[in-house]
Symmetry: C3
Subunit: 204 residues, 3 copies
């Protein structure tokens, strides 16, 4: 199970790194810019989480994460010239990456002994801050803040995981799988039916 | 005294969270975006301070801060549709929040044994970085960097607190009160008479 | 040698602080905005590095860095009104600052026992993140991500230092000097002949 989650984690790194390169392509960045944006998008969420929780940053302890993000960045930089990227497929892959990151972030925070509320905040942060930093660096208002049911999916998945976790009667693998499935279903449903949350507006 | 300062701190959280929601409203963000911006604005300064000082982040130790910021965000999201916000009152409340945050940040840094200069830097950071991150996320050049006597007020308050603190002959509550009053008076005076610092410009 | 490197480090602080004030001038920031931008540009790279490595932030331990950055900021704020800044000279000075910061960052990370790959990442981060934060705060897409051989120079210098370092047979001062020279030569060559890396673009 742990092994499976690790592979899912690396898959999330690849997908998020690729969205970083797409953003770099839209802004005509150079190779290095694309690789930096790939790494930051893929690792930004977990890095912020670990820095706030004051634990060693995950990619300092296992440098596979960094290598994979950088390699994805470099390869995609050339790939997007010749490849027609199916945006639909990419968004689905992105939803899978999000689900895994949220669950991993929530679990890690719970394992450190923090409260459920903090664990949820950290899970959402792990899943969403990489994309937020990507948008900031590319000069856009973060999509996370404006758009469709993205963070709501993350929030729901983290909340379900926290609810199921208190007890220990349910086996860990079932808890993890449910957390991932909840996030994924809500996000995919939002994509399928173009759901979006109400936006803030002023009285007059 | 400590108790009073704690309540002032929570008041600052509410005010800053509300300015986050106002920024979200100007950019048509959705509910989640508004709540995120509320939390980041309210806690960003103290979080940066604690991360740089390498001490546990304050809202990990007392999650009231986070709850209050999130609740303020969610409530204000709906409130601003029906309420005419008196901007004058808001700026005064913001000045009060700023004063409290600056003093708390300066005091915490001094208590950790850092030099007066570092304490001043950290006090200003505590008071101003939340708003700075808010403006960054909303896609604006931070107001802090362009505008009226805002950070100057923070700097003055922190400096006065540091000056009075060395000694111990003056009771702590008087020191704190003076720091808050100095910041507040300078900021309110700047608001009242539209004072502003000179801006950078090039020779030709 | 150590002493010389320390002076080079302070020189880098001055140069980077000055580029912060130039950015502030382009955006008509006020005095405080210019000083903040000077400090953030000069110390941002090292601060991010130390926070990620979870070691005490360098300017908390030696506040000379902060004083020099702030003083450079305040003096330059007035200086740029009367002085015609030779941009060519500034870019050369900036290249020298970059070289020193990269080498110091790489070395510090190696000394902490991290792997060569991590040391390279941290070296590049030390040299480039200050400017990246400067551009973010000034509302520009970071030049680092778009432009000429800047980070490539940093990457090469850090890589050479890491390669030479494993062994110990080569004296430390020679390793440091080579790292600085490699970064500097590549950057100066890029400036001299207007070299730039290919930019990302889409297939159609």
């Amino acid at each position: 199970m742990e092994q499976l989650l690790y592979w899912c984690d690396l898959f999330g790194i690849v997908v998020f790194a690729f969205t970083g390169v797409l953003a770099a392509g839209h802004k005509q960045m150079d190779l290095f810019g694309a690789v930096v944006l790939a790494c930051v998008t893929a690792t930004g969420g977990g890095t912020t989480r670990d820095m706030i929780l004051n634990v060693p940053v995950f990619w300092l302890q296992d440098s596979h994460y960094l290598w994979i993000a950088a390699a994805t960045g470099a390869i995609s930089f050339y790939l997007i010239r010749y490849l027609q990227v199916p945006m639909r497929l990419l968004k689905i892959a992105d939803a899978m990456g999000l689900s895994v990151f949220v669950v991993i972030g929530t679990q890690k925070t719970l394992a450190l002994g923090h409260s459920p509320a903090i664990a949820i905040v950290m899970g959402v942060m792990t899943g969403t801050f990489g994309g937020l930093i990507r948008d900031l660096l590319a000069g856009d208002i973060p999509l996370l803040l404006r758009r469709e049911i993205y963070a709501t999916a993350a929030l729901s998945g983290a909340a379900v995981l926290v609810l199921l976790d208190t007890g220990g009667r349910i086996p860990g693998s079932a808890v993890v799988a449910t957390g991932i499935l909840v996030t994924l279903s809500i996000r995919l449903a939002a994509l399928r039916w173009n759901l979006s949350a109400p936006t803030a507006r002023f009285g007059k």
